[in-house]
Subunit: 202 residues, 2 copies
């Protein structure tokens, strides 16, 4: 009694999107980028096959709009069964992420084998990226509060945004702290190696 064709959370994401309004696969991609792009992404290679399966299971309904001059649009909307499935999924516990791999930390872990400067550059770039993200989050937040002020979903959207803010702020703090430590380390390493040389020569 296994359910084949689960396909992870992509289908559920699409069901969620369709609560906002009926749309096509093409729209979905754009919508995802604009709304949940800071913590989620989907590619056409996932979206189109998923939609086909969702339609086969009766969770979404497809209507083809034909327009002159433009390609056909397959517009999907949520069925009651689809809405049901969505709220079931929303209630399932979040499967804990194993260990998201972190290339920055991997390099830093072996940081002894390169110059302090190399390590500093990695951390500096990381800080810059997160400062950029922070700016982006503020901009999005302002825009949301202006344009979606009356949407009952706004508070939830802001919570996800706040997550990004907390995370990036922490990352920037860690980055600065780490830069200080790297500086310190270089200074004491300098002293250390001099001392070691001296000890050797004696």
């Amino acid at each position: 009694m296994k359910k084949k064709f689960d396909g992870g959370s992509t289908p559920n994401t699409l069901l969620g999107l369709l609560t906002l309004c009926p749309m096509s696969g093409y729209d979905m991609r754009a919508m995802i980028d604009r709304s949940i792009g800071h913590f989620w992404s989907e590619s056409y290679g996932q979206i189109y096959p998923s939609l086909k399966r969702l339609a086969a299971e009766g969770l979404v309904e497809k209507k083809t709009e034909r327009k002159q001059g433009r390609p056909d649009r397959n517009v999907f909307s949520l069925t009651p069964a689809g809405r049901q499935r969505l709220s079931e999924w929303l209630s399932t516990p979040v499967k804990e992420v194993e260990t998201p791999r972190n290339e920055l930390l991997l390099r830093l872990f072996f940081g002894q084998h390169v110059s302090a400067d190399v390590n500093r550059q990695h951390v500096t770039a990381f800080i810059a990226a997160n400062e950029g993200a922070l700016k982006h989050y503020s901009a999005v937040e302002k825009q949301l509060r202006r344009e979606e002020a009356n949407d009952p979903q706004l508070p939830y959207w802001l919570m996800t945004l706040s997550f990004g803010r907390h995370r990036s702020e922490a990352f920037v703090r860690w980055g600065r702290e780490t830069l200080r430590k790297l500086d310190e380390l270089e200074r004491s390493r300098g002293r250390g190696s001099k001392a070691a040389q001296k000890a050797k020569s004696e």
Copy 2:
């Protein structure tokens, strides 16, 4: 002039590990879990093929130890070329992670469609997981400071641990803040829906 067989960062990770001491593929897995397990993981399915390729490229050297009663051990050690390759890789810029998918945020984004309780449970579990992680980090840190006090690589290891601490602390703060928001939301939603009902019935 493309370099085929890059294989991502797994081979580089293995090179890094071999700077600590020569070891077998089997050892590597265990070592990874103990040392960088909080931000990295590798499976045998990745390790063994990577080692084969690294040996073919002359970046590591393989020596087979035969012991009575035990299976053979293929012990690998770093060659000068391997050490060179490692420091080259350590100097390459970290490729920015696209957007790590976050299932918790995905559920929260669509939180409007389920009860406040469901959302609260997700967040509560998330807080608990991060508090657990924080305890783990402290334990590891204590152990490192005790057992590896003289290792010159210790400061780098502590930096990666500190990253986890900063992150989990931020996540816990966000979680608590979000729980408060959810409570607030439920209260105002209660009032709102009562008001809406009243308005409807009039």
